[in-house]
Assembly symmetry: C2
Homo-oligomer: 222 residues x 2
DNA sequence: TGTACATCAGTGAACGCGCGTTCACTGATGTAC
DNA sequence: TGTACATCAGTGAACGCGCGTTCACTGATGTAC
């Protein structure tokens, strides 16, 4: 009830210090960070409104438009940061294994795990309807292709190592993506469904995706 | 330009005849039909507003509330009708084949096809965040379980026929669902991606899902 | 067979909310002279 | 070393839109007497 006599208004959030001339770009970073934090913490894209971001940063909504053309640009930029992180995590996981097949499996495990850890991002990036507007210049799409290309190369290495029969790495990479994406997105959308225990489910999917080709080899078909 | 002098207002859509006493339930059906049509034709859930539905039916928005408690109930009911149709299509497809394994594959093909034919419904039913509100009494969930149970029984028949090794039909059914869902939802969300040709993609996924167990059998493992 | 009345099936207008966004303005900071 | 001025980094208030929903009212239809 008693209003704080200092510079702050009654809201608990302290208003941030105004940036010095030349340091305006700092707010830009803080806005991106706040949007990122809101997205992760609330787990709801709807909670990440311009007002909410401004509130979290400690500035007013119009200040955001000094640094971003519109909300979509802002969200897109946040997603791009996330996506780069996603690709790195997958590559790191893959790098742990020496065997190309095990490496590919590690990618799959990391994919599901990362998706489940950041469901709201996963929704935005992989489960939303495509933006009509940003068809060509969509950086997220370029990055998605980059991450997919990593996957495709991983498949190719399995083919080269003789784990997979020769064939189109592209199609196999698509199928594996569909498998991991199917798991991840269903677990996100239907959390109440009686799924198998996570680890078991992941390994079953990997067995389905990778296993039949292995079986083909293991049993020495002729 | 010239206003029609008859009973209609200037809008092209004729206003519907008022139902006679006792026939009020007719509007209810027309509302469901209109919402269904809008959902299929526009391919956008956002386009299916109360105003749009009222416009399509030829009544006023408040009239909708004479028959539905709120918008969510309306949409849910429309989805239930769709879902019943979905389950029927899958069962019909499965019934075409005599071999349990081929029957299961037919389910998978029909699943993807039906999802792609009604992407907006597919989004709502399988790609949306779960309603917090309707956790227990969610009929759509019950129906989803029913459709899944059909799938699980189909898997069990494959096990019984010796196509699959004994094991938990439930887990395999989950994995197959994840496969077909992964394909369907990615094709819906990323239409611009260079996917394999649809048929090829479906068969590859089915081979991944069903094939490795078949391979296990085909090659006569000991 | 006519009439008063209840009810059923709606209408018209508006509310309230949240959202993204814009407009006119401000006030501190740095700089030329 | 002081001062006028430009600029940078914001603020405060409001707009406009679309949406779901509500409220008070209406007018045709059926029915009891």
């Amino acid at each position: 009830m008693q209003a704080d006599a200092t510079s702050q208004p009654t809201t608990g959030k302290p208003r941030r210090r105004r940036a010095r001339a030349g340091e305006g770009a700092r707010l830009r970073q803080e806005i991106l960070d706040a949007a990122d934090r809101l997205l992760r913490e609330t787990g709801s894209e709807a909670a990440v409104s311009i007002d909410a971001i401004a509130g979290a940063v400690g500035c007013t909504p119009p200040a955001i438009y000094l640094h971003f053309a519109d909300k979509r640009s802002l969200i897109r930029e946040v997603c791009e940061r996330y996506f780069a992180q996603f690709a790195d995590v997958l590559n790191d996981a893959a790098a742990q294994a020496t065997d190309p097949l095990e490496s590919l499996a590690a990618r799959g495990r990391a994919y599901v795990q990362f998706g489940l850890e950041h469901p709201e991002y996963y929704r935005i990036l992989f489960m939303h309807r495509p933006d009509e507007g940003a068809s060509q210049h969509d950086l997220a799409r370029v990055r998605a292709n980059a991450a997919f290309d990593d996957q495709e190369r991983a498949v190719q290495r399995c083919i080269d190592a003789g784990h997979f029969p020769p064939g189109t790495a592209h199609n196999i990479a698509c199928a594996l993506w569909a498998s991991t994406h199917g798991m991840t997105s269903l677990l996100i959308s239907k959390p109440g469904f009686p799924w198998p225990p996570l680890n078991e489910f992941v390994e079953l999917m990997l067995a389905h995706g990778l296993g039949f080709i292995i079986a083909d080899r293991t049993h020495g078909a002729g």
